[in-house]
């Protein structure tokens, strides 16, 4: 159900052709992460299925960002394991992550996207074609030659999403992508996330914004003090919170 219909020429055999064996589902079993005496994640178990948007929900300091980085492979768990359906050598290249504060390169908007495609080994003409495509779909076409670092917060976040999306990731991790944005910019970013999910990429989004979860996510993973305290469909979680902590969080009465 990929929107990108024309076959892409991946020079190093990354991307499409190897997608025949999907990465997902991802099973996390007994994940623990400790830093010194602090246990930041404690016995986390869950399964990420392919398709749709899963929200990692929880108050500040719950361990959401950390969990995303563990899944993406930027950090190694102290104990426990991550079991992908399939573990190719280019595992991370088939994923992407957008950080809360987008890290943009000091070059033009278009060059930021081109860079991500270049490191994936895409040929030059294919790169520029795909970059144009991404810019058009993220509404950044008019800003293509602007230095990326002078964009507004919303535009920067969109560019970061475009750059992550450009590589056609099977799974995309987003860390609070709409935090610090005004409502209009947040809405645009949310629409873009929905489009990305519709194009076939699995989206995992860390957030503490309940309304946002209702608007865009299908599944939720509720995290509190490094533990999973509920997971399931968004509808079920909101209508029937699995425990008092989740209920308190939904009421806005849970403090870290």
């Amino acid at each position: 159900m990929r929107v990108c219909s024309s076959p892409v020429n991946w020079r190093r055999g990354r991307g499409h052709e190897v997608n025949t064996t999907p990465l997902l589902p991802l099973r996390c079993e007994g994940l623990c992460f400790r830093a010194g005496d602090l246990t930041l994640l404690n016995d986390v178990n869950f399964t990420l299925e392919a398709g749709g948007i899963t929200a990692v929900l929880g108050p500040n300091g719950a361990g959401k960002t950390l969990l995303l980085k563990l899944c993406h492979g930027l950090l190694l768990p102290t104990t426990g394991r991550l079991q992908w359906q399939h573990t190719p050598t280019d595992l991370r290249a088939r994923q992407a992550m957008v950080f809360q504060k987008p890290v943009l390169l000091r070059r033009s908007v278009a060059a930021n996207i081109e860079f991500a495609l270049k490191v994936r080994g895409l040929a030059s003409d294919e790169r520029s074609r795909r970059t144009r495509d991404m810019l058009a779909r993220t509404g950044l076409a008019a800003l293509a030659e602007r230095p990326a670092r002078v964009l507004s917060g919303g535009e920067q976040q969109r560019l970061a999403l475009a750059r992550a999306w450009a590589g056609n990731p099977e799974i995309l991790f987003l860390d609070e992508p709409a935090a610090n944005l005004d409502p209009a910019a947040a809405r645009t970013v949310e629409e873009l996330i929905t489009t990305i999910a519709a194009s076939g990429s699995k989206v995992v989004i860390a957030t503490h914004d309940l309304a946002q979860v209702r608007r865009i996510a299908q599944d939720v993973l509720f995290l509190h003090r490094g533990r999973v305290l509920g997971q399931g469909s968004v509808r079920g979680f909101f209508e029937c919170p699995p425990n008092e902590t989740a209920a308190a969080f939904l009421r806005g009465e849970l403090y870290w």
Partner: protein
């Protein structure tokens, strides 16, 4: 005060007539220092990048050593290079003493620690910002390093200018290893020292003004090139 006004008008006269002896000396100064800068830049940046992304035993000691070497006295460097290149020294067979190449070598030794020390600070700050993105994009170490160098190019350019300043203004080392030979190893600074010893204070001062003027031109050139690049979104 009269020395200053005499020096100023003398400097103007020398520049206006493009005095051939002066032009020869200025070009040699630039050639030696720019070549030394290019080599020190390659060495310094490579070493700084290596220190930034790798961890190895003795790394801290190396950093402290490099930072301390920023204060290397030029005369000591000159003496060390002299003893190496002297006919009686270990590299005497190369026959490089009292040549522009010897001056380049001395300036490379002087400037590399400065460039490496300053660049390392820049690169480490940038590395903290970019490390996760590069890991996420699955960049290899070499690609991460080259990208980091490109990303910090503006700060690194300033580092190069600092290195250029140290190279072109230095006299102690190039006097010892170059010998201030007319038409061969005579550069701006050794000429200034020589004219001072001849008691031609106004001329020496005028040459100093011209040296500063050239440094000004180089810096202005870099500044405006950078502005232009920034405006074009680079």
């Amino acid at each position: 005060m009269s020395e200053f006004s005499t020096a100023l008008s003398l400097a103007f006269d020398l520049l206006r007539h493009a005095d051939p002896v002066l032009v020869d000396i200025v070009l040699r100064s630039l050639r030696v220092s720019l070549l030394a800068l290019a080599m020190a830049g390659v060495l310094g940046f490579a070493l700084a990048a290596l220190i930034t992304v790798t961890r190895f035993p003795g790394r801290t000691a190396l950093i402290i050593g490099i930072n301390a070497a920023m204060a290397l006295p030029p005369v000591v460097v000159g003496l060390a290079v002299y003893l190496l290149l002297s006919r009686a020294g270990p590299l005497g067979g190369w026959g490089l003493l009292f040549s522009p190449t010897a001056m380049v070598i001395a300036q490379v030794v002087l400037v590399t620690p400065l460039i490496c020390g300053l660049a390392r600070q820049t690169l480490e700050d940038a590395w903290r910002e970019y490390a996760e993105l590069f890991a996420s994009l699955d960049l290899g170490t070499l690609r991460a390093l080259s990208t980091l160098l490109v990303e910090t190019r503006h700060s690194l350019l300033t580092t190069l200018l600092a290195g250029f300043g140290r190279a072109i203004s230095e006299v102690g080392a190039v006097l010892i290893v170059g010998g201030n030979i007319a038409h061969v190893t005579r550069v701006m600074t050794t000429t200034i020292a020589m004219e001072t010893s001849r008691g031609n204070l106004a001329l020496a001062l005028a040459l100093g003004l011209i040296l500063i003027f050239i440094a000004l031109l180089v810096n202005a050139g870099v500044f405006f090139t950078r502005e232009l690049a920034a405006r074009q979104g680079a």
